[in-house]
Symmetry: C3
Subunit: 639 residues, 3 copies
């Protein structure tokens, strides 16, 4: 596969007279893809039923004729104001019971059937008009599901849909009461229609109730997306895709992804570091203008899994953004670095957001490749530079990694419902594992629990995996030489109960979680020989051998042959020890990486990616500040 | 009195086949009391009027026959879901005006008369059925009043009840306007029904309004409780009790306690340290797995007063809990230590919560004496060890202490309504005094302002006591050799005005508060000779002698004979000086205690209680890590 | 002008028998003005239409006969409770959609026409009764507009008024859609009545929408005030005024001020330092009992501009207050210092709040000149001392300063709507400039963008001035020798778009903002030669000369002749450099002031004001701790 570049463009924001020049400059920049249309409903249909697609016809034509492949978005993330007159109750409702009003975007409740019909109607119209248009090379459905905390709605319509969903899940109310343990605190229901969304309760609601509502809410997103897929499929032969948002965990991306052909995500490295990472101040300062060295790769690898191998960056940060607490500019080289890093992880397309900075509305301070008055912004030259590099490097082919991490959205919902300790977060735990693998120079695959290769991995990690039945245990064992579970793996059933067989309830390892402890951030439990656990401790018993022990001699890691269980949330030193131990057991070769330097192998290349503001020499290679060194596999990489 | 052990048990959570074995194991553990029933309404009455007490009959029988005394709870803290269909408006309303929904517990408004009738109905049914049952040895009414911030409701029904309450208090609206000073800001009312709950006002409401609402809300709890007492009294001869929650100050426990026979409280030392103490990080880390060394004793002494000598720990933490920000496990020995400490302070029964950890719902991560799969948890052996110790020590008899603290719930409401400084808290102030007395090795009694012994104390402290009339001043003087007031004692009238006679308005000491200052936490006002005041400064004048002075020569402590007034919120060093000075004046013998070691005297024993993770040697006694040394009074305690 | 003293008095709070004595003591204290009436509506009109002015007649008579000039307040900040029965929907609505209830003050929505009619009715009645009363020497309208966050209301009536306001502004909905860039995210409206207040949107609303709502809300305050002005003007010949609150920026004080004769403000130095300044802990500790050394002067200078030369302090803090997080007492001397500082800046009257501390309601802990039981509080002697000083110093005459700062309320609204960086605040930026000028010993004028002298300044600073058209650029250039803009000056159009001509779009300097960066507080961008920028960076290009450069050689200050543009938010060192550079260019003589010492020149005096708790010697003058040294101009001030 030969990676390409793209850009997000809003013809409706600019005079038509500029379009042709814009298209020409995109081509000159080395861009071959352009995404349009995803927020333009009010221009496609200014009043109900009054369709205005002529401008879009011409925009597609101008772009296509210039040589650009068009990704056309359905505009369903931005219903026009008139939609609310037709569907008075279409707004989502927040956890405080307030409707989330018009005036920005994503102002709809996923459970509003009337709005879903409007969405399929507009998708049908667009599909009929453009489904066979030769310039349309892909479709994007909606935009950034879940962004702005929009997956979960507490509306009356959501409550009603929840009743049906529960009835489908449980059949009878007695079954639900039993599954949730509603005998506790006399929470038993007499019928499904008594069950409200789990907000505004006096104290914490039943975590089984919360988890069910999170599952339901995720399913509503899947259904919403599928409704448009079903309309578009017969009308077009090109791929359907969606653009997911970084660290957005409120719905199951794997399930949405199953209905689509390509997964894409929106990568804002500097915004994410400022806005949604637990990194300490030192880390945030060091990488202030580069972004976290593992955050992008994590998502690249995750969406490669969501897209079953096919994935893009749909929106690549090209300069300072507007929405993070602090919005510094990328250091010179970073836009190219981010782009090439995506390519290293298998992106088919890296598409910049956006072509020209808008001079108005919410994102007027969000940089584009051009300034609002149409001059080149710093990102433009880096995009051109990226195109040059890509032109010189031939195809990039992904290979199955030796190690993988099982990633499970429902585990995040479960542990958010009941963190048990204020420092515990599923994402944080998995990310710490991912970081450790990357510090060891490894390439990593992500797996969904419902669907992964039946063999081929040396190691699979499944930290924090909430639910683990014997079928999954068996599949995991088959897929790898060594499976590392814990902490908090197999800790609950599907209905948020402690499993009758105990936690983690493994058939291949005698290991029981007798007790759980959570710790404040300043308290660490040291492990004999180095490293420590923090945040979370599973106190283990059982006959499985102790591979590591805490200083009080409690087991820190138990394991037998191909199955290990980690008894705490490891700090960096402990993760490094565990990774080294796995490497010894299964024969992985590790490459200890300096801070900020990362490594990614494809079939023919090794990418060395330097997030540091200074050059690094590693293994005989000099990698410039904010630079990428691409080593051909036939060349000697490591000495 | 010979202390006993108990446990909280939920037969409705487990197969009936397990009950007999459970009862047997309880007995083997040395447990003689079992509390049941308090959350089981949905099993007693699955649909309105459809009573199912057969299972409870059998549970009581099984437990009783095994030799256990049963505490039976009325299930009114957990109205079943069908109750809401009958009483649409029974939910409490939060300060933002939102109903507090079904889905956990305590989902009722204390002002809903319909719900109160349901509660007396179920109490009547239970009383008639079990009031003379020989196995029923006590009744618990409801559960943890006030927990989850449930005392104060802003519902329309509460507002209506408030009108009547005000009319009873003030007679005429003019009297109320005068009492509250409503001429200020034209807040005068034309009638009682215009007075809304004091939430959602533009800026702070009149503190007199807030204090009245807090008094009213407390009275609603008293009335709610009394309604069930009145039903049960004629139907049974065994004691009635309630289980209060730690640092729960929103209603007057003394007043609820007056209608009951025994006060019990729920003691979660580790959760409380994490969750509701102002301790600094160092203190929180040192005692992370033990709990604060004074917090439990404080409540033991307080509830001994609430129960007029009769009190229990109804729920004793047996391992990690689920509800604090961080939930570590108790160090080995702590469960026994907590139990014996309670005994030292006079507990008749220490009852563990709970027998077996539930595998479902909100508290599935709350340890029991047994694990969810029925294996011994660490607490079980410590309970057994406690039973052994108790068996060996004979009766424990309380004696009146030499020093006492006057504790006044309304003072907390007043100072919460108008803290004046962000660092001021009534509980924090009183707790600092209590700590100081305990650092000096003293046993302490608590007093309610309305009811205390007319003599016998050497010292009574009444810091922060909001209202002090001459009758109370006189009673205090009579009851002790030396009464220490201040800071902020006698600062307002019952209706939250500055007293016309000035603050504190003492008849026996010429001492006036001319000015009040509040200070940020990093600012201390040094006292000549050592120690400092923080948070709060009363600037004093008057002819009463200065016993201590601030560095600017303003009085820090004024006093004459039997009455002293402290001019600031003392830090530890200043408290220690003041306690030493009182000891010199009235002839108290002090025992300076090392950090974490505490001492409690009963008639025949001195208990030395070591909260430290290391052994301590004190006065020739070795007290093990997390251990208790009990010295017989005929043995030499202090050399 | 000979400055005088005043006091705020509430005859309705005290027995009539005390009034004459109070008046006598005021006169003895050297007080000549007394403000009354502004919260007394419930006593003027206890029930609708039932007027009771007899007590007020007598109070005015007693005060006037004693020799006091009376400021009479309209009581419209405190509508009585019965008003709500007449006007059910008069309450403002908060951003969460909740009505802001009765029970304190300012409980009205500025858009409620019915309430405005009540206000003009009461003003009419009062004007007719007292307009020609010889004791009434000024009128205050309402009290502290905007205080307690009351300018912006989200009520239905506000929404309706907003529609009309928008229609007036934009004429057609298409014009509005175009002006706001509503094509973005399909936010286009079909009619004005679809436009809701910008609260509760899913994610951030369009900043143009927010800015319009803020402008509208400010205009509602102006109209509210003007309605009473229009009633009173024909009925009286004495000045009309309003008392503004410190750091209250939610409406345009200049516009309200245009309809009035005198601007007054309420000065609470210690409360403000605790409550509304970004000062660090060290600064807050150093000046804990004095207040920030620049905060009062800033407001004095600002309100001198708002009052077009005529201004007072209407409420001067006389001791500890009740409303800040921490409320320490002023150090001895501070009440006099604050008073004389106000005089130095041109106050006609300094009026203490309040005469005697109230013993009831919300402000019972707010000190007065007398204690609640009528004894002298510390402030009384200082007021008397101030009167003595004033008596000895003759007239005080203001002169136009050499430097000025342009202050623009709409810029605060704009940058609050879209801060872009969490550390950016318009007030903070302007205040940092003001501090720097004062550190350099300069006297400062404030200017409103719509109205300032056409010449006479050496330097005008306009940092953060959101909108800068060529007309304003020209006027600024005419008015001074050197105008210093930036950072973030000229950054948006009136409708919150990036100007088509670019930012800042100057005609006299070739300087473009290509890119904007915002930085976390711990990150500084050093400037070659010293100093740094923080929070905000404008990355500049253009042919205008670089006067200062960042360490990466990007321009830090560009300028040419009379126009400079600063590329970042300066830290103290950078501000000092810039002020020094301006002084060199235009010939200003600077006086570097020690910490806490400030200097103010009038026609005949130089005031040296020492906020430090220790004496300072400066330029041969000894200024006592918390003292003021007043140097006659004919005496040698600086050697
Ligand atoms: Zn049309
Ligand atoms: Zn039945
Ligand atoms: Zn009347």
């Amino acid at each position: 596969m030969k990676p390409e570049l793209g850009v997000c463009y809003y013809p409706e924001h600019w005079p038509e007279a500029m379009w042709a020049d814009d298209a020409q400059r995109m081509i000159e920049t080395g861009i071959t893809w352009v995404r349009i249309g995803e927020f333009a409903w009010s221009r496609m249909e200014p009043t109900p039923g009054d369709l205005h697609f002529d401008w879009l016809d011409r925009a597609i034509e101008v772009l296509g004729v210039a040589g650009l492949k068009v990704v056309l978005g359905t505009p369903t993330a931005t219903p026009p104001r008139w939609m609310l007159e037709k569907h008075l109750d279409m707004l989502a409702v927040d956890a405080n019971g307030q409707p989330r009003k018009f005036g920005s975007r994503r102002h709809y409740c996923f459970s509003h059937q009337g709005y879903i019909k409007e969405c399929t109607r507009v998708a049908q119209i667009m599909g009929e008009r453009y489904g066979r248009n030769p310039h349309i090379a892909a479709w994007q459905i909606d935009n950034e599901y879940g962004c702005h905390d929009t997956t979960v709605s507490y509306s009356h319509l959501a409550a009603k849909a929840f009743h049906h969903w529960l009835e489908n899940q449980y059949g009878t109310i007695d079954a639900l009461n039993e599954a949730w343990g509603n005998v506790f605190w006399s929470m038993e229901y007499d019928g499904f229609d008594q069950i409200e969304p789990p907000n505004l309760t006096v104290t914490e609601p039943n975590p089984a109730h919360v988890l069910a509502y999170r599952r339901f809410s995720s399913d509503q997103v899947v259904a919403f997306n599928k409704a448009q897929v079903d309309v578009l499929r017969p009308l077009t032969d090109v791929p359907l895709l969606h653009n997911y948002m970084g660290r957005e965990l409120d719905f199951d991306h794997f399930k949405v992804g199953e209905d689509l052909d390509i997964a894409t995500w929106d990568s804002y490295p500097i915004g994410f570091l400022s806005d949604r990472l637990e990194a300490d101040d030192a880390q945030k300062t060091t990488f202030l203008q580069q972004g976290d060295p593992d955050m992008q790769a994590f998502h690249h690898d995750l969406y490669r899994a969501v897209g079953r191998g096919r994935w893009w960056v749909m929106e690549q940060q090209p300069g300072p953004v507007n929405w993070a607490p602090y919005n510094p500019a990328p250091l010179p080289g970073m836009v190219r670095l981010w782009s090439l890093e995506a390519v290293a992880h298998g992106a088919e397309v890296v598409s910049y957001f956006r072509w020209r900075q808008a001079p108005f509305a919410q994102e007027q301070m969000h940089a584009g490749l051009l300034t609002p008055n149409n001059r080149p912004a710093p990102g433009l030259a880096e995009a051109r530079g990226t195109a040059d590099t890509l032109a010189g490097m031939g195809t990039v082919t992904q290979v199955q990694a030796q190690v993988a991490i099982l990633f499970d959205y429902a585990s995040d919902w479960a542990w958010t419902a009941q963190p048990q300790g204020a420092g515990f977060s599923y994402f944080r735990l998995v990310f710490s594992a991912y970081r450790a693998l990357r510090r060891a120079g490894l390439s990593v695959d992500f797996l969904s629990s419902s669907n992964f290769p039946t063999q081929g991995y040396k190691v699979i990690l499944a930290p924090g995996l909430a639910t683990l039945d014997s079928e999954l245990e068996q599949r995991l064992s088959g897929a790898c030489d060594l499976c590392v579970l814990g902490p908090r793996s197999g800790a609950i059933t599907h209905d948020f109960q402690i499993p009758k067989a105990g936690r983690p309830g493994l058939s291949r390892l005698d290991c029981d979680v007798d007790l759980v402890e959570t710790l404040p951030p300043n308290v660490h439990r040291g492990v004999i020989g180095g490293g420590a656990a923090q945040h979370w401790i599973d106190r283990l018993s059982g006959t499985g051998p102790d591979l590591l022990s805490f200083e009080d001699e409690a087991p820190a890691l138990k394991g037998d042959g191909g199955l290990w269980y980690l008894a705490g949330f490891p700090d960096e030193a402990l993760w490094d020890r565990v990774i080294t131990m796995t490497a010894h057991q299964v024969g992985l070769s590790l490459h200890q990486m300096p801070e900020g330097l990362r490594r990614r192998e494809t079939e023919n290349h090794t990418f060395l990616i330097n997030y540091n503001a200074d050059p690094v020499i590693w293994n005989g290679h000099q990698i410039g500040a904010c630079g990428v060194t691409i080593v051909k596999k036939d060349a000697p990489e490591e000495r």
